[in-house]
């Protein structure tokens, strides 16, 4: 076959681009060719991929996979002579339905190419077919694994970057006539993502209707009060939380029905569920619908970063929602409140697997913490430190902290590992769940129970504290295939204060996530962006990198 002159192809691409501009925007959703023309286009496609050094970038970047596909496949083309092209264009121009931005995809340009196709030569048709294949692969990849490598956005995300099998993607298009069905298969299939996508539709529809109005700021509104702002409150909650649009009685009276709507709203936004509309509730109510839609977009993007297979049963922690769930066979088996890292000691986002539990754990005080916080106490009042259960370890020797001459010890010369013995004061409580990882993050009990009463729970140094650790221990041992651990046995081991390690037969996957939007039976839940990760994702979409 004649090797095409580079100038020829260049001129052709330029001509195509020029065509884009001059062609009238007549709706055209397919290009029909005679079998003979089709054969010529096929030959051109293969020639371009095999011999043309200068192809448009999206095609060039996928040259090998495209070449393999078009050389091996002998039947129809994927886009020319098919209704798929029109569907692909409309999917790209409606990318908002997938929580993506249509401006990031060449929907308009591909539509113009379809219009131009009727007027152009076979070699240009070959380029058009390849442009569609490249755009499809790009979109399938964005749907499946996200637009961004997680760690490029945020060093706190330790998820493995993934890619899609492009050959399989192309083969999939050929097998199924309906490209919507094909693309659906490239979306994350888990229920959480699909529920968010559905919720996104609802929110877009709400936004078209104008979203919701604001409730004027002012004094706290309490049930039973009469206030001129009550009608605005009722109107606001009628949109999302089942308040009656018009009051059954006195319009400015804060009645029981409205109290229920307020509680419904508060539950969806991680607020104290008390029916009292204070500043936090007002601020949450007045967040515009566009921002809520953005949160859903972000959550969908983060789901795309997650592993494809979460496991048949697994633990999932949502840092932003301060909650842990245990899932088995697609059902939520357990939900409990957790305490996560402070904004300056953020719990990292990653996936791992719980390998063992340790009852009555020692707490090995991290060196920095020992030197900074414990050393002054050891110098001034070692007896109090001993009473709190601490001991000093050097090599194989264990020392009573009252017997060490702490005057000789400095933060830079601290030759001990300080640890806290099992007991009621132990910082890790009665049990810890280990999934050994580079971040030294694990799940554990805590003696500081009062923190679970707070609505926002970011207080730890990075580890995840559990509100009902022994119940989770029972479940995790069963899920991990360890027999013979009844509640009574757990209780007696805990009561013994003896350090006891139990290995799981089957490691249990654990996914630490950061999602500021998720769907439950009562609607979409939103949380605040405690670590500012949403802000970084937004900046990345905007082409900025934020300092962190």
């Amino acid at each position: 076959m004649r090797r095409p002159c580079p100038d020829l192809i260049r001129n052709l691409v330029v001509a195509l681009l020029a065509l884009l501009f001059v062609m009238p925007a007549v709706a055209q959703d397919r290009v029909d060719l005679s079998p003979r023309d089709l054969a010529v286009v096929r030959i051109n496609i293969i020639d371009l991929l095999a011999n043309e050094p200068r192809l448009p970038l999206p095609i060039k970047q996928r040259r090998d996979v495209l070449r393999t596909y078009y050389e091996e496949q002998s039947g129809d083309l994927l886009w020319l002579n098919s209704a798929r092209a029109g569907v692909m264009v409309s999917r790209l121009t409606n990318a908002t339905d997938d929580g993506l931005n249509p401006d990031d995809y060449p929907g308009q340009q591909l539509a113009s190419l379809l219009v131009a196709a009727g007027e152009t030569d076979k070699r240009s048709l070959a380029i058009i077919e390849l442009y569609f294949s490249a755009a499809f692969l790009e979109y399938a990849s964005d749907l499946k694994v996200g637009r961004f490598l997680p760690n490029k956005i945020d060093p706190n995300f330790f998820l493995t970057p993934r890619t899609i099998d492009e050959a399989a993607a192309l083969a999939g298009v050929a097998k199924v006539a309906d490209v919507e069905t094909v693309l659906h298969a490239w979306e994350p299939q888990n229920a959480e993502y699909q529920a968010l996508r559905k919720a996104l539709d609802d929110y877009h529809a709400l936004a078209v209707l104008g979203g919701w109005g604001t409730v004027p700021l002012g004094d706290t509104l309490k049930p039973g009060m009469t206030d001129p702002r009550i009608p605005a409150l009722r109107a606001r909650l009628a949109v999302t939380d089942g308040a009656a649009a018009t009051a059954p009685g006195e319009p400015e009276f804060y009645d029981e029905v409205l109290v229920e709507a307020v509680k419904h709203f508060q539950a969806r936004h991680g607020l104290d569920v008390d029916g009292v509309v204070g500043p936090a509730s007002l601020v949450a109510m007045n967040v515009p619908i566009e921002d809520r839609i953005e949160s859903i977009d972000f959550a969908m993007e983060r789901w795309r970063w997650m592993p494809d297979d979460l496991g048949r049963q697994y633990i999932i922690v949502n840092i932003a929602g301060f909650e842990l769930r245990r899932i088995a066979d697609g059902e939520i088996k357990e939900k409990m409140a957790v305490v996560v890292g402070k904004p300056y000691s953020r719990t990292p986002v990653f996936s791992d697997a719980i390998r063992y539990l340790e009852f009555n754990p020692y707490w090995n005080v991290p060196a920095g913490l020992a030197a900074k916080e414990e050393l002054p106490k050891l110098k001034s009042n070692p007896a109090a430190v001993a009473a709190a259960g601490f001991e000093a370890v050097r090599g194989k020797d264990i020392y009573d902290v009252r017997q060490v001459d702490w005057a000789q010890v400095t933060p830079s010369r601290f030759p001990f590992q300080l640890r806290q013995k099992p007991g009621t004061n132990n910082a890790l409580g009665r049990v810890k769940f280990m999934f050994p990882n580079a971040h030294d993050v694990y799940l554990h009990d805590t003696p500081s129970r009062s923190l679970f009463g707070r609505a926002e729970r970011a207080f730890s140094h990075g580890c995840i504290r559990l509100s009902r650790p022994l119940e989770l221990a029972d479940q995790v041992l069963a899920a991990g295939g360890v027999d013979g651990w009844s509640n009574q046995r757990i209780d007696s081991v805990v009561a013994s204060l003896k350090n006891t390690v139990v290995n799981l037969k089957t490691p249990l996957p654990v996914h630490i996530t950061y999602l500021t939007a998720w769907v439950e039976a009562d609607g979409v839940h939103f949380s605040s962006d405690i670590y500012g990760h949403d802000e970084k994702l937004l900046a990345a979409l905007d082409g900025k990198s934020l300092a962190w």
């Binding site: 260049r10 001129n11 691409v13 330029v14 681009l17 020029a18 884009l20 501009f21 200068r54 448009p56 970038l57 999206p58 060039k60 970047q61 931005n101 990031d104 995809y105 060449p106 308009q108 340009q109 591909l110 190419l113 442009y131 755009a135 790009e138 637009r147 961004f148 490598l149 490029k152 979409l541 905007d542 082409g543 900025k544």
Partner: protein, 331 residues
């Protein structure tokens, strides 16, 4: 060293250093004209229109200085300069002021005997690609060939960026912007890299601007601003405070139209210190604002969304509006 020797040495130094010019202000007054170095034609910044009249953001800054010194924004003679020739033209005294999309860097500031009185436009290097590529970040440009103009730091910046990202790209260098743009328009390269403001101008000059997008990512800092010789602190101050006055005026909501009314008194009060110290007329700032408008007006007229440049204020918005334009207070 004897006193006589010292004086001789000093005189010799003065003669050999790039001319005295201590009195640029006096020279401009005596000439009744400001000589301003501009580009050879960069849309939005400095370019002659069909009638041969210089237009643009950098041109308006020349006009503002002429209004401040001579009371008339029209008293400017423009000297178009290439990237290579611009700094020498200033050192050699061929121009009073360089207002030509020049990046303020440490080496230029210290090595060339020049002063950068302030930043008039915070720019950064970016990329333009055909919209049909559907890329949203330069990180998606693996394997691309990229058109670039040589003789600036642009290619080195981009090469460093892609190397750090672990991507392989190739560059197609051109000495002239017209040639680089033509190559890009003919699809001889996949992308075009330059400062984003320059990309906006290049995009507007393409046959089908709407089919090309400028990626949002910025890979370098390019603070552009006026440049003067460092031998004349008085002149440097005048340039600096003309720039700051444009910005402060926007912050104070003083625009060209308001100079016909009460705004003139406010402008006089704002500009008062320069009357005594620099010998400017007491209505110098009134003349500046009446002549070119405040910073926002200059920006919108030359670069804004309604111009072919279609640039948004972005970081060049006032600090009170989410940008980084922050001028010290006046008076």
């Amino acid at each position: 060293m004897h006193r006589g020797q010292l004086a001789a040495a000093l005189l010799a130094f003065l003669a050999s250093s790039s001319v005295g010019f201590a009195g640029t202000l006096d020279d401009v007054r005596a000439r009744d004209k400001l000589i301003c170095g501009v580009s050879e034609g960069l849309g939005g910044f400095s370019k002659q229109d069909g009638a041969g009249v210089w237009q643009g953001f950098d041109v308006d800054f020349c006009r503002a200085v002429a209004a401040a010194v001579l009371g008339d924004a029209g008293k400017v003679e423009y000297l178009p300069l290439s990237a290579e020739a611009r700094f020498a033209a200033l050192s050699d005294g061929k121009i009073d002021l360089l207002s030509r999309n020049s990046t303020w860097t440490m080496s230029r500031d210290l090595d060339l005997g020049l002063d950068f009185p302030g930043t008039s436009y915070f720019d950064g290097q970016g990329f333009m690609i055909p919209a049909i590529f559907g890329a949203i970040s330069p990180l998606e440009l693996d394997g691309a060939s990229i058109c670039v103009v040589s003789g600036t730091t642009t290619e080195a910046n981009a090469a460093a960026y892609f190397e750090k990202a672990g991507l392989k790209v190739s560059f197609l260098s051109f000495e002239e912007r017209d040639a680089a743009r033509a190559a890009y328009a003919e699809a001889r390269c996949d992308a075009y890299t330059a400062d984003r403001s320059a990309l906006a101008a290049e995009r507007a000059a393409l046959p089908t601007p709407d089919e090309h997008v400028i990626l949002k990512d910025v890979i370098s800092k390019e603070p552009l601003g006026p440049v003067v010789r460092d031998s004349d602190p008085q002149w440097t101050s005048l340039i600096r405070w003309t720039l700051y006055a444009l910005i402060d005026a926007e912050e104070q909501e003083l625009d060209a139209a308001s100079m016909a009314g009460a705004g003139a008194d406010t402008a006089k009060a704002m500009g008062a210190p320069a009357v005594k110290a620099l010998g400017l007329a007491d209505d110098w700032l009134v003349k500046v604002l009446a002549g070119v408008g405040n910073y926002g007006e200059v920006f919108e007229r030359n670069l804004g969304e309604e111009t072919p440049m279609q640039l948004s204020r972005g970081v060049n918005a006032l600090w009170t509006q989410g940008g980084i334009l922050y001028a010290p207070p006046m008076p």
